[in-house]
Symmetry: C2
Subunit: 115 residues, 2 copies
DNA sequence: TGAATATATGAACACACAATCATATGAAGG
DNA sequence: CCTTCATATGATTGTGTGTTCATATATTCA
């Protein structure tokens, strides 16, 4: 390996470098998209896409433990992907952002496009 | 915990259950979106978004080792997110799907929307 | 054929993370 | 108050994964 020093296409490198997003933004994008990278979280998001749901219903629908769902919801909340409202003991979660549904749509398109 | 048995909102559960994507599709979506969940891979995708690039240039641009970039490219290729063409010793990679750019756009929007 | 170079790949290691279990919090009802 | 119930949270653990290092592959050129 020696191309660390001898850059093969210098203008290409320079050009692309300047158009790259800030490192900070990349990190935050990765953090956000990581929220979509797990089946349990994806199921939660797909379910909430239909309608507002409480933790217990979510657990039943996606067939996961209450604890697991609760933990994952905490993560999704941290990424501002879901919001909630309390009604007595019950906590209702819903999607917090339209981009969520958009991203899910694109992902599904890609999946289906690859037959 | 007892709501495994006593479903709180029975019709909600039934309704959402039927609208849920197949488990298989969820798995594949998660696999796809996992490709976006790492800063190194995100940088690669953002760079390739500008233009076709060889492995060596990519490594320089995103400041990662050649080996690391090569490994990650293999993963992206497996998800059919990038394609490549060979020209002598040099391998040029480029994005393989328009959905990729779309997903990146949505993610960036979300990030910026959260100030 | 042999040296140089661009990329790929395998093994190993350190670290992140999802699930579980146990327990805490907090609200409603008796 | 005390119990019940819905949800949250902390600790633990096993698994997955990104990086590195070393080496393999493959192509060009002398």
């Amino acid at each position: 390996m020696q191309c660390d020093l001898i850059i093969i296409h210098e203008e290409a490198v320079e050009e692309v470098r300047q158009a790259m997003p800030e490192a900070d933004q990349i990190e935050r994008m990765a953090g956000l998209l990581k929220a979509f990278s797990d089946p349990t979280r994806l199921k939660i998001l797909e379910a909430l896409r239909q309608r507002e749901l409480c933790v217990c219903d979510l657990a039943v629908i996606i067939e996961a433990s209450q604890s697991s769902v609760s933990h994952q919801l905490a993560g999704l909340k941290a990424q501002q992907l879901v919001k909630f409202r309390k009604e007595g003991k019950v906590v209702y979660y819903s999607l917090d952002d339209d981009h969520v549904a958009d991203i899910l749509d694109r992902a599904l398109e890609h999946i289906r496009h690859a037959e």
